[in-house]
Symmetry: C2
Subunit: 137 residues, 2 copies
């Protein structure tokens, strides 16, 4: 039996119910935050469509929809940085997911070679505007 | 002087540069993850347009764009749950933000009364499909 997602019901059903009814956007996607299951560090933000979400749930490994390549994306299939899903959570209105993952390979996530995609902080002053400063991740 | 955002440059400039050039989507929005600055817990995922991002940077408090209401949203203006931005980060391709926040009021975030919007875990078995189970947040 293939996992199917029902359409969202009433607000109360979506927020307090026990059924996963993802609220996919007009583009067919929901955002998914991946955090490291070991220390909670935010690794990346990506998107899932119904097919990738189904595969993620059924296989226990993160599958995304690559918006830039327009294709299903089994995270780590090339790099070895497979994300094994320890826990998946959904938010109140079911349009965002959070996965706590065990990362395979070298434990990294970002295609630039860093562990996390969030490796720069935004600083601001009136003179120079909004600048980016590298941080350790 | 009002803070302006330049258009994204080359891939290398976006990924390794020191200038914030947010890659707003076709809807004019970037996703923003808010985590509690004290323990790193993921509180919510929301969206910012250029105006709300500018206000967030300039005021140090989180301003979002409410997709459901179609309006600027100063988080906490009604509830008291103001999010003071301790640090803002941007991801590799600058289409996602992460803010570490100090939460005002009762310290909560979700409109359902919970601290975090991610208060349910997804479970799966062949028989009952994808179900949601409350977790402590």
């Amino acid at each position: 039996m293939t996992l199917q997602f029902d359409k969202p019901g009433t607000g109360a059903e979506v927020e307090e119910g026990a059924v996963l009814t993802p609220r996919f956007g007009a583009d067919g996607l929901v955002a998914c935050i991946a955090v490291d299951a070991h220390d909670g560090a935010v690794l990346m933000l990506a998107h899932m469509n119904a097919v990738s979400l189904r595969r993620t749930i059924e296989t226990g490994e993160a599958w995304y929809w690559s918006r830039s390549r327009g294709e299903l994306w089994h995270k780590g299939a090339t790099s070895g940085q497979i994300q094994r899903v320890v826990e998946m959570r959904v938010d109140c209105d079911q349009d965002a997911l959070l996965i706590r993952v065990d990362v395979g390979g070298d434990g990294g996530c970002c295609h630039t070679g860093r562990r996390s995609c969030f490796y720069r902080a935004v600083t601001f002053d009136e003179g120079s505007g909004a600048r980016l400063v590298p941080i350790g991740t």
